[in-house]
């Protein structure tokens, strides 16, 4: 045999720990960057990544993947997806690229954190491939939407969103900086790769890919499913790190990080992916509901991987299950109502047929969120658009940075603000879990100012909605979010009313 099999020499690529003597182990791996919880280097050497690859295999496979993704894009450039798609689909593209592209690029830094500071040599090498993967995801998700800039000013936010203080930008950064860029290596391995990438990226990249293919956007479907093949490889870095922590008596610490990351990921996905799947995707192209996708990808698969590792379900699992029915409906209502403050045009998604679908997927939807949409619908029919637009900022949570929502409806009204008062400052939380997350790490969270705190501090001038919009990075009217269909859906409501009468 002329070429030796990978198995013969792979271990040597990760036999790279040595005992330093010109500096101490702590100087080489400062705890604030490595997060090794006092477990010495040699104990990390048993780290065994389940998915193995090597440099020559990586560059070959990735070159081929990119050749595929870019050639699909080139072949379909004349398909005029922006011009020909339903505006609800176009808004998903704007929301996705703005919320994801620079977050993926920031993940290069998180992977680099592991690649430099993990005491596990296998983790350091896999994170090197992770750095390359995330470079890919940042670059390709800037390159693909770039050609859409000329169609619509909101596509500029694919590059721009993370550079702004838009409330949605703040929420995305607050989450990703908490699990990716702002953490030590082992926390990144647990919170980013295990807590987030194992389950939630499936939601965005596979769930949405199914809807994209159905909507005829093969470029996007192909792109994000290709990205997910990388995610599913580098997501496997967290498992072996967790095994080492558990074997060294750190189960409680590991569990805490998992619980915090999963809850935080849930909140962000409830506002990002929830409305995209259940309201923005045109009804005829919807596959599963958001809740069904969550059950498939998070509840089923993620729960199994937790148990397999010897971890427990997060303590708040029952609350989480309840929220699968409700939270994203409240978020959608809020996002649509505060639409001038975002860079995408939310589709209301409440024509009679869509409401019937929502009622089927979420029994009781009409009695809860439906009655709020009734008021909005009536105002629009009566030409009172101004009553459907905001004049103030919403109350936002000091943990997830998102508006605090509850479930409306006479029988269900459960809005309750959870607060902490500390040193004369009042902190507000969406529920007891967000409050709990906040309490786990006061040094990380306390001195952060939510957009409402900044407004009240006078950081936002003039102190009105226009001042807030400009503070959020809106430079002109074309960037402000509007109803995706220009209220055309009202005609369907009217037609239905006519039929009924």
């Amino acid at each position: 045999m002329a070429i030796h099999q990978r198995n013969d020499w792979y271990d040597l690529t990760r036999a790279t720990n040595w005992t330093p003597s010109y500096v101490t182990e702590d100087e080489l791996f400062p705890d604030e960057m490595s997060g090794s919880m006092g477990i010495p280097m040699e104990s990390w050497e048993v780290y065994d990544e389940p998915y193995k690859t090597t440099f020559p295999e990586y560059v070959k496979v990735q070159r081929e993947k990119d050749a595929g993704a870019y050639s699909v894009k080139a072949a379909l450039e004349r398909a005029k997806i922006i011009e020909k798609s339903d505006p609800g689909w176009v808004t998903i593209l704007k929301q996705h690229y703005g919320a994801i592209a620079l977050g993926e690029y920031a993940a290069v830094t998180g992977e680099a954190r592991m690649s430099r500071f993990s005491k596990a040599p296998g983790n350091r090498n896999m994170a090197m491939f992770g750095m390359l993967d995330e470079t890919r995801h940042g670059q390709i998700q800037l390159y693909f939407p770039h050609e859409y800039c000329k169609t619509d000013r909101q596509f500029d936010w694919a590059w721009k969103a993370y550079h702004q203080n838009d409330w949605a930008s703040i929420a995305a950064k607050h989450f990703f900086d908490d699990i990716i860029t702002g953490r030590d290596a082992i926390s990144v391995a647990i919170m980013l790769t295990f807590g987030f990438e194992t389950g939630f990226t499936n939601m965005q990249f596979l769930g949405l890919a199914a809807d994209a293919a159905d909507a005829g956007d093969y470029t996007f479907a192909n792109l994000i499913s290709s990205i997910q093949t990388d995610e599913s490889r580098h997501a496997q870095q967290g498992g072996p790190a967790l095994e080492i922590l558990i074997a060294n008596g750190k189960k409680e610490e590991a569990q805490l990080k998992v619980d915090m990351a999963v809850w935080r990921a849930w909140r962000l996905f409830a506002i990002l992916t929830g409305p995209a799947m259940d309201y923005y995707t045109p009804l005829e192209h919807r596959g599963n509901s958001f809740k069904e996708f969550m059950h498939e990808w998070i509840v089923g698969q993620f729960e199994r991987s937790l148990i397999d590792l010897g971890l427990d379900k997060p303590w708040y699992w029952d609350t989480f299950m309840e929220e699968l029915d409700s939270t994203h409906h409240g978020y959608h209502l809020g996002v649509w109502y505060w639409r001038p403050t975002i860079w995408w045009n939310p589709a209301a998604g409440v024509t009679p047929d869509e409401r019937a679908w929502l009622e089927e997927k979420y029994p009781g939807w009409n009695a809860r969120w439906g009655q709020c949409w009734d008021v909005i619908t009536e105002n629009l029919i009566a030409d009172k658009e101004e009553l459907t637009l905001p004049e103030t900022l919403p109350l936002v949570c000091n943990m997830n940075q998102l508006p605090i929502v509850g479930t409306p409806g006479e029988e269900h009204w459960d809005i309750k603000v959870h607060t902490i008062e500390k040193d004369g400052r009042l902190f507000h939380f969406s529920n007891e879990v967000d409050k709990w997350v906040f309490e786990q790490d006061p040094q990380r969270y306390e001195q952060h100012m939510s957009i409402v705190d900044r407004f009240l501090n006078g950081d936002i001038q003039p102190m009105n909605l226009q001042g807030a919009l400009e503070y959020m990075g809106m430079e002109g009217v074309a960037e402000l979010g509007k109803d995706a269909h220009g209220y055309a859906w009202i005609e369907k409501v009217k037609a239905n009313m006519k039929k009924a009468s």
Binding site: A2, G182, E475
Partner: protein
């Protein structure tokens, strides 16, 4: 800026729209991506006094190298992810083909006995060196003040993993022909204890533990990487010819393509530093002066252990100095 009521779509990102020329793919996907540079008080969206914000404020924001607009830096090779893979897949096809064909012709059996010993002492332990420089490059990446600089460091780190991989492969292969020479088992001991590696290990450990970004990037790119190319790879390549090792020079040639690219971006970085702020020159010089003696000692010890080295330690030290002069544009 007044709120624009007649806002029109742009042909590119708003931050590139002011440029006259059409943006390249490189510009579109590489420029101005580090949002952590926007708020000096809190680089990351956390409390300003969170541990990671404190680290970035101390080691990046307060670093002695200064620039008004770090984003003006561009990789002279304009590499993006997909062209990096094209480039390196081509290089790896070449290297894999070398490995394949030299194995077929039973290259390792033809090696001189002394050279086999030298490989165990001088070559196969280098995976620790390559890996340490891979680690160091990933630190430069995560702390760099511009995404364009970070990307150069990412590709550089990957190049060094490539060298780790070549070395691991050759280590195993040598162990099949010479099972009793310690290939694959003795390298850690050589790296930790053999006299000819200790000055290099001192340099590398201290460099890895230098967290200020200016110090990290200058010591790595101006001092340690030139040491690797001029004081390790080239002398090893030259010496290998005497031991009937015809594979090594071809392998190192391919690795030196990467070294040349590393030098090109360091040269561009230096230009960008000097164009903005004259005080940067003194900062660079001070860091170089601090690290060069350690690198020179490392080259001296390493080359002294190469049997009948055609390249003397003084030659290598002078060559590394020449690389630095090329980077800094000094006459």
């Amino acid at each position: 800026m007044a709120f624009d009521l007649e806002q029109k779509p742009l042909r590119t990102w708003s931050h590139l729209a002011k440029n006259r020329r059409k943006p390249s793919e490189y510009d579109i996907v590489s420029k101005n991506l580090h949002y952590s540079m926007n708020n000096a008080d809190a680089p990351w969206e956390q409390a300003p006094n969170s541990p990671m914000n404190m680290w970035y404020k101390k080691y990046r924001n307060e670093t002695p190298l200064k620039h008004e607009d770090w984003d003006v830096f561009s990789d002279p090779d304009k590499l993006v992810y997909r062209t990096y893979n094209l480039l390196q897949d081509g290089q790896e096809n070449h290297v894999q083909s070398l490995f394949d064909q030299f194995n077929e012709r039973e290259h390792d059996k033809m090696l001189e006995a002394d050279w086999v010993l030298a490989l165990a002492q001088l070559y196969t332990p280098l995976r620790y060196v390559f890996h340490a420089l891979q680690m160091s490059s990933t630190y430069v990446m995560q702390m760099a003040p511009a995404s364009t600089i970070s990307n150069c460091a990412t590709f550089q780190a990957a190049d060094l993993l490539r060298c780790v991989t070549h070395t691991a492969y050759r280590t195993f292969e040598l162990s099949t022909t010479y099972p009793d020479m310690g290939f694959g088992v003795a390298e850690r001991g050589v790296w930790e204890d053999a006299a000819h590696f200790q000055p290099m290990r001192e340099l590398i450990e201290k460099q890895l533990a230098s967290y200020d970004w200016s110090e990290a990037v200058v010591s790595l790119c101006y001092v340690v990487l030139p040491m690797l190319a001029e004081g390790v790879l080239k002398p090893l390549s030259e010496a290998s010819r005497q031991g009937n090792d015809t594979l090594m020079p071809m392998l190192i040639d391919s690795q030196l393509h990467d070294s040349q690219r590393h030098q090109r971006w360091a040269t561009e970085l230096h230009k960008v530093l000097l164009a903005d702020n004259e005080s940067n020159e003194a900062v660079v010089q001070q860091i170089v002066d601090k690290w060069v003696p350690l690198a020179d000692a490392a080259m001296d010890a390493y080359i002294s252990a190469i049997p009948n080295s055609p390249v003397s330690a003084n030659d290598a030290i002078a060559a590394a100095e020449k690389v630095r002069r090329d980077i800094t544009g000094a006459a």
